[in-house]
């Protein structure tokens, strides 16, 4: 691909539950290239307010490229106002994708908090082609943060849900779902994405039990291209950019707080 920036057409933009939206856009060139864990950097309006682009994991790449997002601030609210046919200014696909599990892995456990579930669907779209047990542990704050997750179930993913208030699934945090799964250090692989304290709990659990895995990290971004060095986070190998060296980092490398 010559140019990483393009303007595409919005195909649909729907509210999936009280908090979450799914936007799809027609980008045949992106479709061919994008890998699980990569993201797109979207300009929410033509003007200078808000100023930065906004990064979103690719949620799905089948007929169209889809993002799954929470309308929480000015940028995402502008995104939620887009309708079919609107132009969408997109940079991507960006970032280093998830590594796929080696052949001796038999079980993949995806552990997501809130909107952190976004990169997991495209991952399960790829992994379902292999004979693996796929599990999703999902933590939402309330019923407003839970949607049907039919696409995961269609991919053969076993889904377990926890909410802070117990309005759906188990009452508690995503770590209260660990007991639902039999983790094996030799053949389980973990992917996690969500708020840092949640990923830190997953990391502590994985390291203690000697389970390999990756975390998809977030940091505020300007360029999204590894140019400004603004989105660096600490790893055992020094500062790394989330946008270029990540978002996917090994659980035994990234330093989470």
């Amino acid at each position: 691909m010559d140019q990483i920036q393009n303007t595409y057409k919005v195909i649909s933009n729907e509210k999936l539950c009280q908090q979450f939206w799914c936007l799809s856009f027609d980008a045949p060139d992106l479709l061919k290239e994008v890998k699980p864990g990569q993201f797109v950097h979207i300009r929410s309006n033509e003007g200078l307010e808000p100023f930065f682009r906004r990064p979103f994991s690719v949620y799905r790449a089948q007929r169209y490229v889809e993002i799954f997002y929470e309308a929480k601030g000015p940028g995402t609210r502008l995104l939620a106002a887009k309708t079919k046919g609107d132009p969408l200014d997109v940079l991507g696909p960006l970032g280093t994708p998830f590594v796929l599990p080696s052949l001796d892995i038999k079980q993949v456990v995806m552990i997501a908090g809130g909107i952190g579930v976004a990169p997991m669907l495209i991952l399960s779209d790829i992994l379902k082609k292999r004979k693996l047990d796929l599990v999703l542990l999902y933590g939402g704050r309330t019923r407003a943060h839970v949607y049907p997750m039919k696409e995961f179930k269609d991919n053969g993913v076993k889904v377990h849900i926890a909410t802070d208030d117990g309005s759906v699934g188990v009452k508690g945090r995503v770590s209260d779902l660990f007991e639902k799964v039999k983790f094996n250090s030799h053949d389980t692989f973990i992917y996690t994405c969500g708020p840092n304290p949640m990923m830190k709990a997953v990391q502590d659990f994985a390291l203690k039990n000697n389970i390999k895995g990756q975390a998809a990290c977030e940091e505020i971004m300007a360029c999204g291209l590894g140019a400004c060095l603004g989105c660096s986070i600490l790893t055992k190998h020094g500062y790394k950019t989330v946008c270029h060296d990540g978002p996917a980092f090994d659980l035994d490398d990234v330093i989470l707080h």
């Binding site: 010559d2 140019q3 990483i4 920036q5 300009r43 200078l48 307010e49 808000p50 100023f51 930065f52 682009r53 940079l91 940091e219 505020i220 971004m221 300007a222 360029c223 999204g224 291209l225 590894g226 140019a227 400004c228 060095l229 603004g230 989105c231 660096s232 986070i233 600490l234 020094g238 500062y239």
Partner: protein, 302 residues
């Protein structure tokens, strides 16, 4: 086709549009190299004598029409730059302005000596003005120190030398005059304005390094005024920057007295901004029937 070529020292650039240090990274990430070749010059991120790891996160913060950054000149150091990065920058085939920073005059001299053994460099820009390194004062806050440093550097550099100035001063034209007296071939301005943002819930700074530098369209009117002021004070060319987002912005700088213009922060939002600026300047000159860019530089009417 209007004549867009300009000169800095003895070096001719085919057009006046470049990019601001620290905002372009590796050009190849931005767009195809055929496009980068159209620019007058490119400027990679500032390099120091020794490698620097940069500041702790959070390093950037979004502000109205701009951003605060405190990257802390994360870079691999001059030796690795020369060995690993310089060859790929040279391969692009566009004039290269290398931005360097020493923490004292001796370090500047060591860096220049190392670059002197290289070729394929169009000019060297001395970053006298990074606000994010915990120094009490910047080189570019002291006209005498600026002059003394420029004397040292220009006496040994085989490349034209540009002094990059800070807006965090009482009178930027005095510093520009110091640079000119020290033999600088050009000055570039402005670097970022010292800035802060506070999280009112935690009552902590948003920025890991506590303070940072403001850039982007928010600072443009300040930058235009400073270019105007410096243009009246010195004879050497000015490279103008600070919030340029489109051709009309760049033309303001040129009319105020800038010989060259650079896009910076806007590259993060619109990676083609520098090319659009170039296209827009050319279109404006055709429309205004101006055949040579030199007729535009500093043509501000009273």
């Amino acid at each position: 086709m209007p004549n867009l070529s300009i000169k800095i020292g003895n070096t001719t650039f085919k057009n006046p549009v470049t990019v601001a240090s620290g905002t372009f990274g590796h050009a190849e990430k931005y767009f195809n190299l055929e496009e980068v070749k159209k620019l007058g010059a490119i400027v990679p991120k500032t390099v120091t004598l020794l490698p620097q790891v940069g500041n702790p996160p959070v390093r950037i913060w979004e502000t109205p029409s701009g951003m605060i950054n405190a990257i802390g000149i994360e870079n691999p150091g001059i030796d690795v730059f020369i060995e690993k990065k310089l060859p790929s920058f040279k391969k692009i085939g566009v004039p290269l302005i290398v931005s360097v920073l020493g923490h004292n005059p001796e370090q500047f001299v060591s860096i220049i000596e190392k670059l002197n053994s290289q070729d394929g460099i169009a000019a060297i820009e001395l970053n006298l003005s990074c606000p994010n390194l915990g120094h009490k004062t910047l080189m570019a806050q002291d006209a005498k120190a600026t002059e003394a440093l420029l004397k040292k550097v220009t006496s040994i550099s085989k490349f034209p030398v540009i002094a990059k100035l800070s807006p965090n001063v009482t009178d930027i034209s005095e510093i520009a005059q110091g640079a000119e007296a020290g033999g600088a071939d050009a000055v570039s301005l402005i670097n970022t304005l010292t800035a802060m943002a506070i999280d009112i819930r935690t009552r902590k700074s948003r920025i890991g390094n506590f303070t940072g530098g403001l850039s982007g369209p928010a600072i443009r009117p300040v930058a235009v005024a400073m270019v105007h002021k410096v243009y009246q004070a010195v004879k050497i060319p000015i490279i103008g920057m600070g919030g340029i987002a489109k051709a009309e912005d760049a033309l303001e700088f040129i009319i105020a007295g800038a010989t060259m213009v650079a896009t910076g922060t806007i590259n993060f939002v619109n990676p083609r901004a520098s090319l659009e600026v170039l296209e827009g300047i050319t279109a404006y000159m055709k429309e205004q029937k101006i055949s040579d860019i030199k007729d535009l530089i500093g043509c501000l009417q009273k």
